[in-house]
């Protein structure tokens, strides 16, 4: 499972990296003369969109956006959630209570809703979307980090370190972080695929990356108005999203089996 997941994610990553250097056509400029061409015409492998842009080039450029948004959201969630979770687990007492109640509140805001609220408050765009997605994912990271920390703190080597007068920061760096690293990797893959799904939905709604930057979600939105005459325009970005998420999920499940053998329930990614 890890292997097939890694292959799919690797292919998407390769597409994104390749798009930095080369795409079959320039994905940005519109060309009224070449709009809505069918597949395999004039060198356009999958045809062109309603603005005359090459679909393959758009898909490649979109993969870059998708991965960037996912990566940035996961990074924010890690930076916010993990210190909070480790701190709560190590300190206990009222610190723990405050962090846990804060995660309760944050979890009441589903990612999509949070992005829409942020978009309403601070203006829609990729930056707000990434921030909101990161904040939405942070509480799960905090909870995973906290429960992992609690297990590590009960170990004898931590008691020994304390007896040796090691400070909490030293213990956190030396014992806690390395031991919960696996859990965090698994959680990252889950959060990544949630972010990819959410980004697609948000761009579709007009709350994600703004035009003219191509993204898979907006390709769907633009394709919907041509669903009667050119249904393939919806199919291509749809496949891109589904295949990417499938790859991330397979990778995540495989990583879970490797790092967290006790977990029984297969966590599906229930983003949307």
């Amino acid at each position: 499972m890890v292997r097939s997941g890694a292959v799919i994610v690797g292919l998407v990553l390769a597409c994104a990296l390749l798009s930095l250097l080369w795409t079959p056509f320039d994905p940005l400029p519109t060309d009224a003369a070449a709009r809505l061409l069918g597949p395999l015409t004039d060198g356009h492998l999958l045809g062109t969109d309603p603005y005359g842009r090459d679909v393959v080039s758009l898909l490649m450029y979109g993969s870059r956006i998708t991965l960037l948004v996912g990566l940035a959201a996961v990074a924010i969630a890690l930076v916010v959630g993990v210190p909070a979770g480790i701190g709560a687990g190590m300190a206990g007492g009222w610190v723990d209570q405050v962090v846990m109640r804060a995660t309760d509140v944050a979890l009441a805001f589903p990612a999509l809703l949070l992005v829409i609220v942020f978009g309403a408050a601070f203006g829609a765009g990729a930056t707000t979307a990434v921030l909101a997605l990161g904040i939405a994912a942070a509480p799960s990271f905090a909870r995973v980090a906290r429960s992992g920390t609690l297990q590590v703190m009960a170990r004898e080597y931590v008691t020994a370190a304390r007896a040796a007068n090691r400070g909490p920061l030293w213990i956190a760096r030396r014992h806690v972080l390395p031991n919960i690293g696996g859990l965090l990797v698994v959680q990252s893959s889950v959060a990544f695929s949630i972010a990819v799904l959410a980004e697609a939905a948000l761009s579709y709604l007009g709350f994600g990356t703004r035009p003219p930057t191509p993204s898979w979600g907006r390709m769907l939105q633009e394709g919907q108005s041509h669903i009667y005459d050119h249904p393939l325009l919806v199919l291509w970005p749809g496949c891109a999203i589904a295949v990417t998420v499938l790859g991330l999920n397979l990778l995540g499940d495989g990583l879970r089996d490797r790092f967290d053998p006790r977990s029984r329930a297969p966590e599906g990614t229930a983003a949307l």
Binding site: R101, D104, L220, Q224, A242, A265
Partner: protein, 317 residues
């Protein structure tokens, strides 16, 4: 007694979370650039008129006072008056919420109808090709977001086959058949994906139950596998599934925002997008609060049901 204490504690956490969450919604949308008085009066309003309007709307008071005022109104079911339309938010929200509730309920029904048979068969026949095929299918289903499923369903069943309308909702005077024809595609797109997620939990819950001694005993008594599972196992398998189902109900509530957009349905989700679009912040506050409270209530009910179904949890400290 322990059970009562646990329930009380859970209720306390619920109340605290609800209050804090409503504060967050209020604060986020109170700091929005754009003055509601300006929105109501337009750009040509004089400063004096603006000040008067602000005083009338209560915007010149300190934020905590405004929050208390809004929150007490909320408790009495009053969501405030829109500065854009000049009408109270509550009634429109209630009529839109009905549409979303019908959609989500139908979606959940589809999810359960997909998940339970799929999960049980995938577990019981896990080493046969059909069981493995079902597991694989649910893996693919999870990767398809609801709105994408909606677009694909429209392409096939509305555009090609023309069995169902590609969008819209019932008007006054329509019968049940009309409602169903509008409901089928959105409910399937909302439910099938969540059904695929749920099916994996059903599968692993059933697998756990299949390993239990009491089920082996039931089999040893001569009950066929499926009968034994239905008689003895489903209740135990239901516990983990119920939790996930509750989480998914919340997920669907928000997923409905996108699905309503795909199918042009006038529910709570399209109302939210509309109000964000014309910067009607009082209405946005109301909708977001209602959605967040709904998620919290769903979680509360699931947790409480959990204690009812699983007697072991009642003993737990």
């Amino acid at each position: 007694m322990r059970a009562a204490a646990a329930v009380l504690r859970r209720l306390g956490i619920f109340a605290l979370t609800a209050v804090l969450a409503s504060m967050v919604v209020f604060a986020l949308l109170a700091v929005v650039p754009g003055d509601p008085a300006q929105v109501a009066l337009g750009l040509t309003a004089t400063p004096e008129k603006l000040a008067a309007a602000r005083a009338e709307m209560g915007l010149d008071r300190p934020l905590p006072v405004q929050y208390l005022d809004w929150a007490t109104g909320l408790l009495g079911g009053d969501l405030g008056t829109s500065a854009v339309t000049g009408r109270p938010v509550g009634p429109e929200l209630a009529s839109r919420a009905w549409v979303t509730a019908v959609l989500v309920a139908a979606g959940m029904a589809v999810a359960v109808l997909v998940a339970v048979p799929m999960g049980v068969v995938a577990a019981v026949r896990r080493r046969r090709p059909d069981g493995m095929l079902l597991s694989g299918l649910s893996q693919v289903g999870i990767a398809v977001p609801a709105f994408l499923a909606g677009l694909l369903l429209i392409t096939v069943f509305a555009v090609r086959l023309q069995w169902f309308p590609s969008g819209g909702w019932t008007r006054d005077g329509d019968g049940l058949a009309d409602l169903l024809s509008y409901l089928v595609l959105p409910a399937i797109s909302l439910g099938v994906v969540q059904g695929a997620v749920l099916a994996r939990y059903v599968r692993s819950a059933v697998l756990d139950v299949l390993r239990e001694d009491y089920l082996r005993t039931a089999r040893a008594k001569g009950l066929p596998p499926l009968r034994a599972l239905l008689r003895h196992g489903l209740r135990n398998a239901a516990i983990p599934v119920l939790t996930v189902g509750g989480v998914q109900l919340g997920v669907m509530l928000v997923g409905a925002v996108v699905v309503e957009k795909v199918f042009v349905i006038n529910g709570l989700g399209s109302m939210l997008l509309e109000k964000v679009g014309n910067r009607d912040m009082v209405a946005v506050q109301g909708i977001v609060t209602v959605l967040v409270l709904a998620v919290l209530v769903i979680n509360l009910v699931v947790d409480l049901l959990y204690t009812v179904i699983d007697p072991r949890l009642r003993e737990a400290p």
